[in-house]
């Protein structure tokens, strides 16, 4: 059980590190348009040419012949490691221009192909992951914080506090959010920078999401409050704050951890949904949602399968998080018994 959790945690950590250091791993800037290569298919990595096998893989340049891409076999472009290219920053601190891999111009290495503007889908996937995953994690933190505070207050004090707070939680759960948000977008100021939109997105997702964790926390607090040791502590004159800190809040910890593992993928998907409808970060900044939004067009969906890559990334991320939630859940259960 323990090893499974560890494996999942390290996979997740690796996934997040890859995304955080997107600038290093991605060969190109995510906004860089190669206008002569719209919808270029993924480059094949070759190891064998006329002269035999090469340890260092190489690619051929893509060229457009009428309306189909072909490999230009006249020249090989070996894949170089640790090459200098566009500048980037990671975590807002490290500045560099060294990229993990690249090929010499004029060829391009598009591992996952290119989109309609000839932008590298692989680079966009990594950079897009920064937005999508950060939105998921931050929104989870926000909604769990709000949910914990409201749930604890509601469960601990009970009576009218509980009723009014849980009443509004139900109201929040019943609102048709997507339609509401689409309507709100028309009234927002036009000048929202991508960073601003990102924060707004997190706030929206996080604030909408507080209701469910609040109800869960409330339930745990309600049962914890009635425990004998809590009554005993209160009998000895413990203050509310002490009781909450010392006895009640720790009880909710397990539930919160499991909730977090469940909520992150849910909020990553929420970001994707909002961006899919044009309510998220706008061009040219990539996110998994706005990358997927091109697939709304039927012809793109049926012709350029590599543009489904962000959907794959979404599925993988969600599955890992859910497995982790599962593992955490069963661990906590075995602990409490």
């Amino acid at each position: 059980m323990r090893t499974k959790t560890l494996i999942l945690l390290s996979t997740l950590a690796a996934l997040h590190l890859i995304v955080i250091f997107a600038g290093f791993i991605a060969p190109y800037d995510p906004g860089l348009q190669n206008r002569e290569l719209p919808y270029a298919p993924p480059n094949r990595l070759h190891f064998v040419d006329a002269s035999g096998f090469h340890l260092r893989p190489f690619v051929y340049a893509s060229m457009l012949v009428f309306d189909a891409y072909q490999e230009d076999r006249t020249h090989e472009y070996p894949v170089h490691l640790f090459v200098r290219g566009d500048n980037y920053t990671a975590l807002g601190i490290f500045r560099s221009n060294v990229h993990l891999f690249r090929v010499d111009e004029p060829a391009h290495i598009f591992l996952f192909g290119a989109d309609g503007f000839g932008r590298d889908e692989f680079s966009r996937l990594l950079y897009g992951g920064q937005i999508s995953l950060a939105a998921g994690v931050l929104a989870t933190l926000l909604s769990l914080t709000a949910g914990t505070i409201i749930g604890t207050v509601s469960g601990y004090y009970g009576k009218w506090v509980d009723e009014s707070l849980m009443g509004s939680a139900e109201l929040f759960l019943s609102l048709p959010w997507l339609y509401f948000l689409i309507a709100v977008r028309a009234f927002l100021p036009l000048h929202v920078s991508p960073a601003g939109t990102f924060l707004l997105l997190i706030c929206v997702i996080g604030l909408i999401g507080w209701a469910r964790p609040a109800r869960l926390v409330r339930g745990v607090v309600l049962s914890a409050r009635a425990r004998n040791y809590v009554s005993a502590a209160r009998g000895f004159g413990a203050s509310d704050l002490y009781l909450l800190q010392r006895h009640i809040f720790p009880e909710t910890f397990g539930v919160l951890l499991t909730q977090a593992a469940l909520l992150v993928p849910q909020y990553v998907a929420a970001e994707a949904t909002l961006s899919f409808f044009g309510l998220g970060v706008s061009e040219p900044v990539p996110s998994w949602g706005n990358m997927l939004s091109t697939l709304q067009q039927y012809n793109v969906l049926v012709s350029y399968s590599w543009l489904l890559a962000p959907a794959g990334a979404l599925v993988v991320t969600s599955v890992i998080y859910w497995l982790l939630a599962d593992a955490l859940h069963s661990r906590l259960k075995s602990h409490s018994i």
Binding site: R35, G116, F117, A186, V192, G278, S282, Y298, N299
Partner: protein, 593 residues
């Protein structure tokens, strides 16, 4: 058991289809002054199925404003003089001939004799007088009314005899016969009563019994099923015949399926459920082209359309609005050199390639190469040049900081947003390309996709925008319908609405030229005037023109007389002549029958 049930169902359906057979065309009568049309002689029978993006809203030709309603209504109704979509010239419709007075103010129209509405009631001058009374009635509020008001005065109609009417214009008006195109002639015997009772706007809705919707078009309504389809059947009294003396139309039925979106239209066509598609995007056209060998369809690229897509800066007078940030930026937008720099930096060839898949044409003026009669060939087509842009910006006092951001003469960074309709993927793509082009100049541009209505509201009402990417045109190649865009008082004078007087000398000159071309009857003279208008527009760039798409359409191989046109309605304008070489099975496959 299953087989028997199926057989029984088949027999029932067969019987049903026999009962519901379309009316046969009435034999020709020598007293009728039919119009004989050129073109391949077809065969009678069959139904043609078309996918529509949405449902029509009304069947009333006077009040309909949306394209989908007009698509259906256009097949039910007929006009006095019509613009031939293939030749783009006006030609006789219900009026067999017309004469114009020397001063171009009086039009005398001779109506065809022996014409009958789709309910067999005869058509004569009284119906024409009634129709124009309705169109000109302010209470009815027809969108076509504007066309009939020239210089604030309506045209007048008088009946000379049962088959002759005279139209008098307030003053001479170029190509005046073109205003008759699309003005459906109404049946007085049906509509007079509701009109007198003030109920005209409520007549001819989709729920009106089909027998009451009466017109002179090639088809009449058979049935309407909400959310599914509207079926038109042959008008047996239609007034056109082919040169072998067969009364048109050839088709028994014309079926409009409500499918929802352009992609759905393409999918239905691909699956063989519909027979025709028009207004295809280049990507979908490419998709269908790949499948052409399997489906055997006829796909036509008609070349550049009359639509023009452009980037427009907000030059409205914002004094009364509380939009300080935007009015601060208008100093840049008002600077011609700024607009020229933007125009020079835009890579139009990339727009044509990436947005239209090379099935489009770059534009530098409001009239594209699709409009052969009116395009000014002398308008220069400068290549994209970032150096030229930088020179222009430098000479206008702009500079760059160390981060190569563009700064205006007062040292403020140049940053603005472009709004565009989120439902139009092509304009969204244009916006992304323009954003990237202008980033090379150090301008920070935000693309803001908005719901179409929200965008129109900002452009036309609140003026709360900085720049927008939009499209106009597509109707008539003649300059007159463009008046409302280029006249400084025009209702579509997008960059600066509600002008009380021309804001600049060139706008004043355009006003004069447009007014003058409207009353000039000689084509050569009008062309010279309109050439100058195009030149002024290209030089002063109220719009930064981007590109125009090609008109792309397709039909199944068995559709005969398929001659799509650059003008609306692209594929159905000759619906009366369309025929099916062999019986189509589209309906069965669509699960209709």
């Amino acid at each position: 058991m299953k087989l028997i049930a199926r057989l029984a169902l088949f027999v029932c359906l067969l019987a049903a289809s026999c009962v519901a057979a379309a009316p046969t065309p009435v034999p020709l009568n020598p007293a009728e002054e039919l119009q004989h049309v050129e073109g391949e002689v077809g065969r009678y029978g069959g139904h043609l199925v078309i996918g529509q993006r949405s449902e029509p809203k009304t069947l009333n030709p006077v009040t309909a404003t949306d394209a989908v309603s007009r698509e259906v209504i256009g097949r039910l109704m007929a006009d006095l003089i019509t613009i031939n979509r293939a030749s783009q010239q006006s030609e006789p419709g219900l009026a067999k001939s017309w004469t114009t007075s020397a001063d171009g103010r009086t039009f005398t129209l001779k109506l065809r004799k022996g014409m009958r509405f789709s309910d067999a009631h005869p058509f004569d001058a009284d119906d024409v007088i009634f129709s124009f009374t309705v169109y000109l009635d302010e209470a009815v509020n027809s969108p076509q009314r504007d066309l009939l008001i020239i210089d604030g005065k309506p045209l007048t109609v008088t009946k000379l005899d049962q088959y002759t009417v005279r139209f008098t214009l307030p003053h001479s008006y170029a190509a005046a016969e073109r205003i008759f195109d699309g003005l459906a002639m109404l049946p007085k015997h049906i509509l007079e009563k509701p009109y007198r009772e003030g109920r005209f706007a409520q007549t001819w809705t989709l729920n009106t019994p089909p027998a009451e919707v009466v017109g002179l078009g090639p088809f009449r309504v058979k049935e309407y099923l909400a959310g599914q389809r509207i079926v038109l059947e042959r008008n047996p009294y239609y007034w056109k015949a082919d040169h072998d003396n067969h009364r048109l139309p050839y088709l028994d039925e014309l079926v409009f399926l409500f499918v929802g979106s352009e992609d759905a239209q393409v999918m239905r066509f691909e699956a063989g459920e519909t027979d025709m598609v028009s207004r295809l995007s280049s990507e979908n056209f490419a998709l269908l082209t790949k499948e052409r060998t399997r489906t055997g369809s006829q796909l036509v690229d008609l070349g550049p359309s009359l639509e023009y897509n452009f980037l427009v800066f907000n030059l409205n007078d914002l004094a009364t609005k509380k939009l300080n940030i935007i009015s601060g930026k208008q100093t840049w937008f008002r600077d011609l050199k700024f607009r020229q720099a933007v125009s020079a930096a835009i890579d139009r060839d990339s727009i044509v390639r990436l947005v239209y898949g090379a099935r489009g044409t770059a534009l530098w003026g409001n009239v594209g190469p699709g409009n052969k009669l009116w395009v000014n060939q002398a308008i220069p087509h400068p290549q994209r040049s970032l150096d030229a842009s930088r020179q222009l910006l430098k000479s206008a006092g702009f500079s760059w900081n160390n981060a190569s951001q563009l700064l205006d003469p007062s040292g403020k960074a140049v940053e603005f947003s472009i709004i565009t309709s989120s439902s139009n993927t092509q304009r969204m793509k244009m916006a992304t390309l323009v954003q990237d082009d202008l980033a090379h100049l150090g301008m920070q541009v935000h693309v803001v996709p908005l719901d179409f209505r929200a965008m129109l509201d900002r452009v036309f009402q609140s003026f709360d925008y900085e720049a927008a990417i939009m499209g106009l045109g597509g109707g008539d190649p003649d300059p007159n319908p463009e008046m409302n865009v280029w006249l400084s008082s025009g209702s579509t004078h997008l960059w600066h609405l509600e002008e009380t007087q021309p804001a600049s000398d060139w706008e004043r000159e355009i006003d004069q030229l447009m007014q003058q071309q409207m009353i000039t009857l000689n084509y050569e003279k009008r062309k010279r005037l309109y050439n100058r208008v195009q030149q002024l527009i290209a030089e002063n760039l109220p719009f930064v023109f981007l590109a125009t798409p090609n008109v792309l359409a397709g039909a199944k191989a068995q559709v005969g007389n398929f001659h799509p046109a650059v003008l609306d309605h692209y594929t159905l304008w000759n619906a009366d002549q369309l025929y099916l070489r062999t019986e189509t099975r589209g309906m069965e496959r669509a699960g209709i029958r």
